[in-house]
Amino acid sequence: MAIVSIQKLNKTYPAFKLRDVSFEIEAGRITGFIGRNGAGKTTTIKSMLNLVHPDSGDIVYFGKKLSEHETEIKKHIGYSTGTVNWYPRKKLRDIIDIVKECYDTWDEAAYRKYLGLFALDENKTALELSEGMKVKCNLLIALSHNAEVLILDEPTSGLDPFSRDELLELFKELKRDGVAVFFSTHIISDIEKCADDIVYISKGEIVAAAPKAEFSARFSHEGESLEETFLRMERGEGND
């Protein structure tokens, strides 16, 4: 069942256009959002968080339009916008104290669990964290309020291979709990490892949005890996 539906999203910038972006995210599935740098991944994700206002189109969560139910919807989604530094000189504890007040669904047990799992120290400031630990800190917040949908902008960028693997395993665990995980990446092996569905964007347009097996059957040549398929498609070499 689709719990997030993006319908005909359009956004025009002087040098870039997002054109008729449409796809759906289903509960209990991992969706990989792939595209090269500048393809429109971050603009789409920012639109999904109402940080960017599309010229037209609808974003619907749980059957409700984001434009009309923003506050209510945000209580049920978790997000991580790359490695943005929030208050780099403040202790994580102070930042999280403010965040937890904003969520009625804050789960202190889940918070403690992921704090330990990610080996984060609440008394550290963001300035003292590596890029990978900053991603984990954003994820910690996203995972601690029982979000039904996780929207993650390049969560694996900057992580070492072990942390990336741990994170992808975590996605699978969340999926088993019925959480919809939507993450953007340009690392194709991440998609190969854990995604159920693929949304592929190129030059502001959705090229395909389909289950991974269907995507491979449709676009991959025999014996070709997913990475080779994307590279070939990005080079404009078509499907022949």
Partner: protein, 217 residues
């Protein structure tokens, strides 16, 4: 709203915003344009906005499950809290200067504007200019704070200069009244300043909320 206000004080605010409240005590200074105290208070508030921009505070706030207009209102309430704290100091200094120190030669021979009710009313006007020009201008983009602050400096110093010069105009000498002279008129100017402050701040806040809803972050 309380959560956002806590965020303002705990995460976004610069310590200078709190320290610069003390510039309200410049109402004690003889031979000095006392309204500059109000300007210095706003300079302290500006530091918080600089701090907020450097720490991605607006993006952080916009991602929280709160109404976007509440993010703006939180900022306005924080600013007003700082301004009103300094107004309390100015009012205290004014009362002491106009009563217990009424006969002090440094004050009786003051060439510049006296720290009276008119001055306090004009401090409200300086703050109203800040809330309208700087805060309103900031929320056009939610990150550009230099240009609105420069415009505010120009407008604020025009307001301060007019206030300082006003009592030299014929028939307006009472604006520089000392002690309890012309008290009714003086209080009227204070109330007028307060009314300007409340009205302009509310209008500016409403406009900023509308703008912030439409900004791409």
């Amino acid at each position: 709203m309380t959560k956002l206000l806590r965020k303002e004080f705990k995460l976004s605010a610069s310590i200078l915003s709190f320290l610069f409240i003390l510039f309200g005590l410049m109402f004690f200074l003889p031979g000095y344009p006392v309204l500059c105290g109000a300007f210095f208070v706003t300079l302290g508030i500006f530091q918080s906005f600089q701090n907020a921009r450097e720490t991605n505070d607006i993006l952080f706030s916009a991602l929280l499950p709160v109404a976007k207009r509440d993010v703006v209102k939180g900022k306005y309430i924080f600013v007003c809290a700082i301004e009103l704290c300094s107004i309390l100091l100015m009012a205290g200094a004014m009362i002491v200067r106009m009563t217990a120190l009424a006969q002090a030669p440094v004050y009786t021979q003051n060439a510049l504007m006296n720290a009276n009710c008119f001055a306090l009313g004009m401090a409200f006007v300086v703050f109203a200019v800040f809330n309208s020009v700087f805060l309103g201008g900031f929320f056009k983009t939610a990150y550009k704070h230099g240009k609105p602050f420069v415009i505010y400096i120009v407008v604020a110093f025009i307001v301060i200069s007019i206030a300082e010069a006003a009592h030299y105009f014929p028939t307006l000498g009472w604006l520089n009244a000392f002690g309890t002279d012309y008290l009714a008129r003086q209080i009227l100017t204070l109330l007028a300043g307060l009314a300007v402050y409340v009205l302009i701040t509310l209008l500016s806040c409403r406009k900023a909320c509308e703008r912030f809803e439409k900004i791409d972050l």
